[in-house]
Symmetry: C2
Subunit: 478 residues, 2 copies
């Protein structure tokens, strides 16, 4: 127990310093390591395994919906980036430029892709000819680079991993439907798999993606009340298609421009998992993406039969779950603390007395409740407990969000809440960017989204008091 | 049939111009597209799906052997690259340099990783402390950049995708064993899954990896007799560990340097698949990595019941195989040619007469033989035919290699063979780099490898006539 205590003490408590608690977790749970490249991190095996599980789930879902994976170049020539004006204005200030290849200065600078709309458009211009070629539903898994000044592991890094879907459609209607369909894929993934409740809604004009007609977002609330934009989906109209001369022969033989979308989710979501579910004992991982779903800890493992039984259970459970046994010579107490730190959803203890009774003990990471289960039906009991863990995680996160969501009717009220109670603030907005800007200056909050179904309400703008139709969630964000 | 002919005519015959045949295939089979970034390509869905299958197979094999995936930064600071002298000399001339981030000139240039030994070593120095931390068996899937002057799709590109395994071991013996074990993984994969026979052997000093103590290779022969280095595995000794100050406390408490390996296979192997197996009708894909293993082509599909039966068969086969149905309004002849071009291993034809007889027709891509099989046992028949396709591919490739492997006893003989008969030339070598250099100059061949088991023979050097112990395979290479 001394060792267990020692480990727990090694993390800064959340309430004391949330930022330090976060930094402690990413290191102590062995998710990442810093590198000598500013803002670029080493994602260690345990962290990368979480991303692989996220990727495998989303990738299968994308493919079910007809998307195909491709690989675009890592570089974008400066002239290509320059083709769409709003886009280049948004991204040019934050890209890394390759200017030398081998020992030669390049005739044209290449930026390391910050996002790949331009590359996809260039390719689409070559492969789309007829309405029969549409829709094109492409996606790629890769890393991108944005020259951020201040970085934090997973949340904001110079290089980060993501998937970027880029699709082209025959009609505006199809493209708009795709944009929302993919937002729903992200929202369902967050809620059902990651146990993170999210708000679905539209970004305001000033918060949308550079070059997009409309940006949709899912917004999650972290334990500390701050918002995390967790996935975005953009509708582009035919703006990029016009800039890149992507055309197709329509059903009536006329020359048309296709309508475009893009959507992405990144390793940022790992930061979201940490800050939604973690506690003072460490990480708490949603079973769907946990690299180890069940950790078997033999108790009194030197006694005859214990390790054999543990291995037998591991072999059985491996058919359905990601499971490991720790038969190292560390004490059970040390192991308990270690796998709590790593956020393993379920611990399975098995000792001589359990074997006598043909049972084992399951301990949920969420509430540490011990459940004695007969070995005969173990698989179903494990599935049930993992489901319970997920549900408890979701309920706890939802409660946190509900408890930290406030209403404001005036700028003073808004400022008072923002200063004293971190969370989401619901308030009406007239649609004027000047009011949005003022709220940022005065109350320090940005608009997170206009949630679906609240675009046409009746009220008064929280800032200027003029008639307002849109309900907006405001908050401080990562 | 007119359409079919038209498509076949569109590829340059191999015997007429092998290079053009290759270029035609990568485009017409829709594996890749050129981009406006010199030497970087767009890998299209069909090409990327092949790579995903390669990745999934190798990744599972690596994990079985205890390897873990990680992600290292995309960039290497110049000072880090400079730490190991031989390594930097080998790579510095061919890297892309990032010199500007956003609008600021960087205080230190960053190269886009050409390979990641330096990054792994930097990380290993931080996480390896004791012999208990060893071995570290890490791998990453990523793309790397080498500033090649002349590029060809898949074979040599500025950016290419690969996996790079980097491991650290307690003893030289362990590290050497790992180096050879991973070479065997590559060789088995090529031979059993890709149906590409390979020679396993060691590279000469002048052909080894920059900074390695020993480089091992698998060498395949392409249809035109040229060699393709298809995978390499390097033993580093403790040279990098010393340069990067990677140390651990040994079992006897002394401070030690670990012993290191790295090994990689890249998208180059897709070029190898094309040039080993392809023919004048297009690509021929090994069933293990073919995105579509069975293409169902309904015959007289407008007749009642045909499409239903085709779909029913597809549903059945999907349980075990990657299968698709083409029910488009193109003619069967067009479809036959199309999927031959795309190298689909097995075509399944089903028409009204077949349905009457409760059978279908399987046509192998390799020899276009028609096999009538009863529908009752279709799954097993398909498995059997796919296995037959693999075996035929392997035998054909092996025969090509055997038929194009020659022996040379003198420099004149070597030159004569090299000038007139493309292929491998077996010849003894004294070990002097000057002789190796002379063979390159005079006969235009490079040493491909010293095959295992032929390091200690007795003979005379093909170049200088002095006593020679090593048998070497020589050839022209991609």
């Amino acid at each position: 127990m001394a060792e267990q205590k020692k480990m727990v003490e090694a993390i800064t408590p959340m309430e004391e310093d949330f930022a330090q608690w976060y930094t402690d977790i990413v290191k102590k749970a062995e998710l990442m390591d810093y590198s000598s490249v500013r803002g670029c991190m080493v994602i260690e095996p345990y962290g990368w395994a979480i991303w692989e599980n996220i990727r495998d789930y989303l990738d299968a879902r994308f493919k079910e919906l007809g998307h195909e994976n491709v690989s675009m170049p890592l570089f974008i020539p400066e002239s290509l980036l320059n083709k769409e004006k709003e886009h280049v204005q948004g991204f040019a200030p934050e890209v890394a430029w390759v200017t030398t290849g081998g020992s030669e200065k390049l005739p044209e600078r290449l930026c390391v892709r910050p996002t790949s709309e331009t590359l996809f458009c260039e390719h689409y211009a070559r492969v789309i000819h007829s309405w029969r070629d549409l829709p094109k539903l492409y996606n790629q898994w890769c890393s991108v680079v944005r020259w951020e000044k201040t970085t934090r592991p997973f949340l904001r890094s110079v290089e980060f991993h993501w998937q970027e879907g880029h699709t082209m459609h025959e009609t505006e209607e199809d493209a708009r439907a795709e944009t929302l369909r993919m937002l729903d894929v992200y929202a369902d993934f967050c809620e059902k798999q990651l146990a993170i409740p999210v708000l679905r809604g539209q970004k305001t004009e000033s918060e949308k993606f550079a070059g997009a007609v409309a940006t949709y977002t899912i917004e999650a609330m972290m334990h500390d009340g701050k918002a995390l934009q967790s996935g975005t989906s953009h509708y582009f109209g035919d703006g990029f298609a016009r800039a890149f001369n992507v055309t197709f022969q329509g059903r009536d033989n006329s020359l048309c421009h296709p309508f475009q979308t893009s959507w992405g989710m990144s390793t940022r979501i790992i930061g979201g998992i940490i800050m939604t579910h973690g506690d003072d004992s460490g990480l708490v991982l949603p079973p769907a993406v946990a690299p180890i779903q069940v950790m078997i800890v033999p108790v009194a493992q030197h006694k005859p039969g214990v390790l054999d039984k543990a291995k037998e259970i591991e072999t059985r459970l491996k058919q359905r779950f990601r499971v490991k046994t720790d038969d190292s010579d560390q004490s059970p107490g040390w192991k308990f603390a270690q796998y709590e730190m790593k956020g393993v959803p379920l611990r399975l203890e098995i000792g001589p007395k359990d074997i006598e009774k043909n049972q084992c003990v399951l301990v949920r990471r969420t509430d540490r409740e011990k459940v004695f289960v007969p070995l005969d039906n173990l698989e179903d009991a494990v599935a049930e407990q993992l489901e319970r863990v997920r549900n408890d995680m979701y309920e706890k996160a939802l409660k946190n969000r509900e408890g930290k969501t406030y209403e404001a009717k005036s700028l003073d009220e808004m400022k008072e809440i923002a200063d004293s109670k971190p969370g989401f603030i619901r308030a009406m907005w007239c649609g004027d960017p000047a009011c949005e800007e003022k709220l940022k200056e005065v109350a320090g909050v940005s608009s997170r989204c206009i949630p679906f179904g609240h675009e046409h309400e009746h009220g008064a703008c929280v800032c200027c008091g003029k008639p307002a139709e849109k309900l907006v969630y405001w908050g401080k964000a990562y």
